[in-house]
Amino acid sequence: MSGILNSSIGRKFAMALSALFLMFFLLQHFAINILSVFSPDTFNEVSHFMGTFWVIQYVLQPILIFGVIFHFVMGFVLEIKNNKARKIGYAKTSRAANSTWMSRNMLLTGAVILAFLVLHFIDFWIPEINTKYIAGDMSGLIDPANTESGFRYYEELVHKFHSPLRVGAYVIAFVLLSLHLLHGFNSAFQSIGANNKYTNGLKGFSKVYAIGIPLGFVFIALFHHFTH
């Protein structure tokens, strides 16, 4: 058991577990963000709960950060190992004949998503941490001195989507996330050994998830850009 992460299968298993965790996180992130379209007040309430409940802040958030870092680091480790397995390439290849573009370019799509995450952290996460844990304002209010000022979360979200450049970057990143998930969703299940009578159904669901969730995030960005 101790050496499992030193084996090719063990590393892929760990990669798949982190991927499944991140996909679950993405789903709940979307479920909260879509509230901003239908009910700004509910979005504010849920955001405040997520931002202040200790289990989420001190247990799940560190696990999430570890999961993100682990997924990217392991992705690069696997890529380096895979490149070492074939130092001399073919003069001619016809890879499109036997595999999808998405499956062959997970590192590329993953690197773009990583770049987007850096932007996302600068935009949302770092200011949030700064406000709550450095400035010490846990109120979640637009004006901490005025309890009538209302929660700040919806206002911050809408403000971020004013810039067409940011919205453009957002759209590109989510298109690539969709391509990443179109392969990654099923691949994660295969890596943990789940290939059975449910696999075909899972493939159908994976397409709905891989296209639907990123498309939903893009919709939210465009909705706020064009309605405010």
């Binding site: 058991m1 590393r11 397995a85 073919y90 499956s103 691949s187």
Partner: protein
């Protein structure tokens, strides 16, 4: 009759750098097998006093897994579920340029021209691809132990792997997972394979990693190019077997 341009990897020995060399060839019948076409080329080269192209071949009927040509960017050529020896020249057009290269993987070093050393597969087999049974004097009837039909069929399908290495050659990571998983599965699905199941999967995967094969990224290229149609389901089974064995071990 067809006229073709062959672009063939020539490499004198394991330490030679090697290069692609062009060979125009004419008068090729569409009914020839691919290997017969190479025989014609080699005959011409011998008559000219040149070194013939070295390539692996044995049964020439798709059973032995010896032929190992990467033809126009695909293992065993443009058709699926066949070996290079079962490929016919009617799969190409008059005037075509055909690239012929050896399997490429650090675990399959080139010996000469199109021949690669696939003994890494042998070492993986030796690490656990067998069952230990006393067979002298008390051989049991093969049907003494009932086996579920579905499992018997899946074990048989896995056992049809001929160890040609097309999976490694096709995989962008040079992963041997389809080969190893077929060997693990054919025993894991049968009662006779259960006794050594834990050690088998751990030892075979350990040997696979030590040989320098890459990781599986589930592109599925191996399954498409496998001449015997070995399913990715076997890789998932090996993953389960390995994880379960790791917990036990």
């Amino acid at each position: 009759m067809m006229n073709l341009t062959l672009k063939i990897w020539r490499q004198k020995n394991a330490s030679d750098k090697g290069q692609i060399v062009d060979y125009p060839i004419s008068g090729i019948s569409p009914d020839m097998s691919f290997l017969e076409m190479l025989d014609v080329l080699n005959q011409e080269l011998i008559e000219k006093g040149e070194q013939p192209v070295a390539f692996d071949h044995d049964c020439r009927e798709g059973i032995c897994g010896t032929c190992s040509l990467y033809i126009n960017g695909r293992a065993h050529g443009p058709q699926t579920k066949i070996t290079a020896c079962q490929l016919h020249m009617r799969s190409f057009k008059d005037g075509d340029t055909i690239y012929i290269e050896p399997w490429r993987a650090e675990a399959f070093p080139v010996v000469k021209d199109l021949i690669v050393d696939r003994t890494s597969f042998d070492r993986i087999q030796q690490a656990g691809g067998f069952i230990s049974v006393n067979t002298s004097g008390n051989t049991q009837d093969a049907n003494a132990i009932p086996i579920e039909k579905e499992n018997a069929d899946k074990a048989f399908d896995a056992a049809t792997c001929i160890g040609c290495g097309a999976c490694v050659a096709s995989c962008k990571n040079s992963s041997a997972m389809l080969f190893v998983s077929a060997k693990v599965s054919q025993f894991a699905l049968l009662p006779q394979g259960q006794v050594e199941a834990t050690d088998r999967v751990l030892n075979m995967v350990k040997q696979m990693d030590e040989e320098g094969f890459g990781n599986c990224t589930n592109t599925g290229a191996c399954e498409v190019e496998c001449p015997k149609g070995i399913s990715l389901e076997n890789i998932a089974r090996m993953n389960r077997e390995y994880l379960s064995a790791s917990l036990k071990g």
